[in-house]
């Protein structure tokens, strides 16, 4: 992405564009940073509570307040959440779901992004009569609550013979990821100059040639956004995972739900928090690592048109 003309947005992304605040400790600066710090506290508090709690023992939790740092740090809850917590008669914690989640995640992310990017490409560069109608239907689909679709999709998957299989779930993720991702890719590819597309056609490249050789290599910023959105969405999914598959391939969130909701005597908050953090680790890592690319990609694709 060196030709700045092609993605005007990226040119403008190098740094903040707002007015430059006066230096030093002016009243305005105090207010600015003050507001930011107060807001940051609100956002950071739950994570802090989760971490702190997950490192405490149950007696300490019962006594003290939830914001106090642990007096005695213990990793017991983490071990328990990962490999010992029980649901029903299975006592192997989250570990059994982790690889299932990975197995679901990878094909779902790849397929949903592949389909949506082709859609976005076709909608922006190869419009055909009615293509906008289908797109509008997809856009309205963004707003349809999943609950409405659960039942008909059970029937649909049954008729396709995919019910209960990993591929059935992958298909469901692809379908429900399609509207938003298609919108992202469509907007992004629309911002790619038509002339580039025309040049490629004159050069004899067809639909797939242009897609693979020209468009896809240019789509890195939006691919990052799509990937982040899909990884979080699919990793955090509980409803589809539990309804459209069976226990051997239940995702990690099902175990999380089981750990959090099966109370054995008293609620083990520390184990719950550890389980929560463990489940959130994959998407959190991705956010911490690629947060900057995310903002960039959004600027390049999501906010236009």
């Amino acid at each position: 992405m060196t030709d700045t003309r092609l993605t005007p947005a990226s040119r403008l992304l190098e740094g903040p564009r707002g007015p430059k605040p006066t230096r030093r400790l002016s009243g305005r600066n105090i207010m600015l940073y003050g507001t930011l710090i107060v807001m940051a506290a609100y956002y950071a508090l739950p994570l802090y509570v989760m971490v702190v709690t997950s490192l405490k023992g149950m007696p300490e939790i019962r006594m003290g307040n939830i914001f106090a740092p642990p007096v005695e740090i213990t990793f017991e809850p983490w071990v328990k959440a990962w490999s010992e917590a029980c649901t029903g008669i299975n006592c192997d914690g989250l570990s059994r779901g982790f690889w299932n989640s990975v197995q679901i995640l990878i094909p779902s992310v790849i397929l949903s992004i592949a389909v949506a990017s082709v859609n976005g490409y076709a909608l922006s560069k190869w419009r055909f009569p009615g293509s906008e109608v289908f797109f509008t239907i997809l856009m309205i689909g963004v707003f349809i609550p999943y609950q409405v679709m659960i039942y008909p999709i059970v029937i649909l998957l049954r008729e396709l013979g995919l019910y209960g299989s990993l591929w059935g779930l992958v298909l469901v993720h692809t379908i429900f990821g399609m509207p938003l991702l298609t919108l992202l890719f469509r907007n992004y590819f629309t911002s790619v100059p038509d002339e580039l597309f025309k040049a490629a056609r004159v050069d004899g490249a067809g639909f797939w040639g242009i897609y693979f050789r020209i468009m896809l290599p240019m789509a890195l910023p939006i691919l990052v956004v799509a990937m982040i959105l899909q990884v979080t969405g699919i990793w955090n999914d509980f409803l589809f995972g539990v309804i459209y598959t069976k226990p051997e391939i239940y995702p990690m969130t099902v175990q999380l739900n089981n750990i959090v909701n099966s109370v054995q005597g008293v609620k083990e908050y520390n184990v719950n928090m550890a389980a929560t953090l463990l489940t959130g680790l994959v998407p959190l890592t991705i956010y911490f690592v690629s947060g900057k690319l995310f903002v960039r990609g959004i600027a390049a694709g999501a906010v236009k048109g």
Binding site: P16, P19, I66, V133, F143, L239, I298, A299, V303
Partner: protein, 307 residues
């Protein structure tokens, strides 16, 4: 690159090809989208609407009952409360998300130090599922353990803050958690929009002596219309689908004070085994969505001219 589009070399270009097969590959490539739109979104929606006129219980059956399900729906207190809740939550959530999201973005855009750190802190909740969000906020808001407990133990024994156990303020409890989870993403969208605005605009405003806050309101925000539309789509679609958070935090309680339509649909379909009723409620939700969206979608996508 093998290319079916360019492959059939026709010597004679005098006859127009069948319009159906013109750029056939692109149409084939769009097939998954077309099928999804037709079969899943239109088909399943139609199926739902049709079955809302039946007395289906556990299994979908075509035993017609006319508008009975709708009549029952609108006579059900829980449905009415659900709608009211959604409307209230929706308005608050929409306003606060936009305001907070924009404010944070504007603050981050003011050449501050540690921008990346702040941005990450504001955004990370978006990586967490509603189950997690619900769990942690349920805990922080728990009067016997969380904020209320801590404040009381500091000596303010009269302090009361138990939104999850008080029917009249439970929606605000949901809002605190919902905003925590969702504003980060909107902030990023806004930030991206702000970064897309030409610096000359700022210069012009400074030359004209317009105060900063006024520049934002009068100049910058109007320029960010597409950004706000994207944000609006993201926020409203989230509001309409509001379900997981409620289940994770309050399960609709206390009593039925925090019930929402999506939960009504789900519970009626699967727990009460009254599919017809669930479908009727779904249809009403779809209708509401259609009334709001179709004119907008038409303006936004349908009316666009060729250029």
């Amino acid at each position: 690159m093998p290319d079916s589009n360019a492959a059939p070399r026709r010597v004679d270009g005098s006859r127009p090809p069948n319009p159906l097969f013109r750029n056939l590959t692109s149409k084939l490539a769009a097939l998954p989208m077309v099928l999804t739109a037709l079969v899943v979104f239109i088909g399943c929606t139609g199926w739902t609407i049709v079955h809302s006129f039946t007395g289906s219980k556990l299994l979908p059956k075509l035993n017609w009952v006319g508008f009975d399900q709708y009549e029952k729906l609108w006579n059900t207190r829980r449905w009415l409360i659900s709608i009211e809740n959604l409307a209230l939550y929706g308005i608050f959530s929409l306003c606060f998300t936009l305001v907070i999201g924009f404010t944070l973005a504007a603050l981050l855009d003011r050449k501050i130090r540690f921008e990346a750190a702040f941005r990450t802190i504001f955004l990370y909740p978006f990586a967490l599922s509603f189950i997690v969000t619900g769990l942690v906020w349920q805990w922080i808001l728990n009067p016997d353990l969380g904020i209320q407990h801590v404040v009381r133990s500091m000596g303010f024994t009269g302090f009361e803050f138990d939104p999850l156990y008080n029917a009249s303020i439970v929606l605000y409890g949901l809002l605190i958690a919902g905003l925590w989870q969702g504003t980060g993403f909107v902030m990023v969208i806004m930030l991206a929009g702000l970064r897309g605005i030409d610096e000359d605009v700022w210069k012009a405003a400074r030359v004209d002596g317009i105060p900063v806050w006024k520049t934002y309101i009068r100049v910058i925000i109007p320029m960010m219309r597409p950004v706000f539309i994207t944000a609006l789509v993201v926020i409203t679609s989230g509001i309409i689908k509001l379900y997981d958070l409620v289940v994770a935090m309050t399960a609709g309680g206390p009593g039925i004070a925090s019930e929402v339509p999506a939960k009504y649909v789900y519970d009626r379909m699967f727990s009460s085994q009254n599919l017809g009723q669930g479908f009727a409620a779904s249809t009403m939700m779809l209708l509401a969505v259609a009334i709001i969206l179709i004119p907008w979608a038409y303006l936004e996508f349908g009316g666009k001219k060729h250029d």
